[in-house]
């Protein structure tokens, strides 16, 4: 489905941006992707997201939508053909939103603390990160995807962070596979989907970005 009027403002290492790319790919929507530079935010970004001045921003027919999970829900509702990202069962839908919220509140921060951390705090940050993953692993249980048989909203919300796993393991000196084997298996399963494989950068690219970031901010 060719959409002349779908633009995504993105920053390639952002897990939040990846969520939107996956959702757009799942629905087969073509779009223009514009990369932002955080040192010099575009006037388009500042105009379309004056509140947070952050990517991702989806601009559909000139109208901006901000906040990644908000955008994912918008995509699911505005293009309501299959596949559906949110479950049709209302209770399962509420649980999907709950876990999306949990991931938003916990994953980004715990990931960042591990790869930017140092010294004595490192162990505590590692512990919190693994605890967070274990909570999610418990929720996944023995299902192929968080939503059950089908890839959906919670998978979209979480899988981008797996592109950061190599970075987290290297800087944190930990093995995610040892601690959360089911989650790692889930990540591999997701990567078999085109929408995911084409939306996530290679983990080594993320690592190189993280290294540069740490050097620039004196965090080594």
């Amino acid at each position: 489905m060719a959409e002349a009027n779908v633009v995504l403002l993105d920053f390639w290492p952002s897990s939040y941006g990846m969520r939107v790319k996956i959702a757009l790919a799942e629905k087969g929507i073509t779009y223009e992707c514009k990369q932002e530079d955080f040192q010099a935010k575009s006037s388009l970004l500042l105009e379309t997201n004056p509140v947070h001045k952050m990517i991702p921003v989806l601009i559909h027919n000139g109208k901006p939508i901000c906040e990644s999970l908000n955008i994912v829900q918008y995509i699911d509702e505005a293009w309501n053909h299959k596949p559906s990202l949110l479950p049709s069962d209302l209770y399962k839908r509420s649980q999907a939103r709950f876990w999306g919220d949990y991931i938003d509140k916990n994953v980004y921060n715990s990931v960042k603390r591990v790869w930017t951390g140092k010294g004595k705090e490192q162990e505590e940050h590692n512990k919190q990160f693994i605890e967070c993953l274990k909570t999610l692993e418990d929720e996944l249980a023995n299902k192929p995807y968080f939503g059950g048989e089908d890839f959906g909203y919670v998978d979209v919300a979480l899988v981008p962070f797996t592109s950061w796993f190599y970075t987290v393991e290297t800087f944190g000196k930990l093995s995610i596979e040892e601690e959360c084997p089911k989650l790692v298996a889930w990540a591999k399963r997701c990567m078999q989907k085109d929408s995911v494989a084409t939306s996530l950068p290679h983990p080594h690219k993320i690592y190189a970005f993280a290294l540069q970031y740490k050097q620039r901010h004196g965090l080594e």
């Binding site: 939508i65 918008y74 839908r93 509420s94 939103r97 709950f98 919220d101």
Partner: protein, 223 residues
């Protein structure tokens, strides 16, 4: 109307803006429910069972299935009971409503809590600045009597209930009418909306909640 009204239970603590959001939503839809008052400093087994991840109220239990997180609960209520819609039907308008409701939680509630709980003058000043930064956007966003429209309340209004809780009930002046004239009026109008007025706690109840909240936060810090 609810076909199984005995099967809707709500766990909460009176005075919590998050609880009151859910109560407004239920009241708007005319859903009857059983209310169970919990204790922030001595959480019930039921709460721990129904919300093992956050151990926080409110929790809605419908047909024995629990839902946590106030805005998630409000959306569930809107999805399940179709009368008096809380979210608009247009996808773009829905996205806007969700954006502003999330903004309430991410920026406003946190800043307001700091404003109320901070004793240190410097920290209070900083909290005021943060709060006013956030409220400026809301003031701008308010185009009608309510966020949802001229005569109807909706998702964003419900999310913002902490404002009249503080301005009207606790009578803690977050802001003056000079500073944010539209929000000032909105706070009074929303507080006086018949559905909301029935839900609002008394000033005493609210202060009991503040005290309990401060206690539980202090206990958390210690651990």
């Amino acid at each position: 109307m609810a076909s199984s009204q005995e099967e809707v239970t709500l766990l909460g603590v009176v005075g919590s803006p998050f609880l009151h959001r859910v109560q407004i939503a239920l009241k708007l839809k005319g859903i009857e429910y059983k209310y169970l008052e919990d204790d922030l400093n001595n959480k019930s087994d039921l709460l721990l069972k129904y919300n093992p991840v956050h151990k926080m109220i409110p929790v809605l239990v419908h047909n024995e299935k629990p839902i946590s997180e106030s805005l998630v609960i409000v959306e569930y209520i809107d999805d399940t009971w179709k009368q008096n819609p809380i979210l608009p039907s247009d996808p773009y308008q829905r996205a806007l409503a969700r954006f502003w409701a999330q903004f309430m939680d991410d920026k406003c509630v946190v800043a307001a809590a700091k404003f109320v709980l901070k004793v240190d003058e410097k920290e209070k000043e900083k909290a005021t600045e943060e709060l006013y930064e956030a409220l400026k956007f809301l003031e701008n966003e308010l185009k009608d009597k309510f966020f949802a429209g001229e005569e109807i309340i909706g998702f964003v209004d419900i999310a913002a209930v902490f404002i009249p809780l503080l301005q009207e009930v606790a009578q803690i002046q977050l802001f003056t009418s000079e500073k944010f004239p539209k929000l000032f009026k909105w706070s009074k109008d929303f507080y006086n909306h018949p559905v909301v007025k029935e839900i609002m706690p008394s000033k005493d109840q609210l202060f009991v909640y503040f005290k309990a909240r401060a206690q539980s936060l202090a206990a958390k810090k210690k651990n």
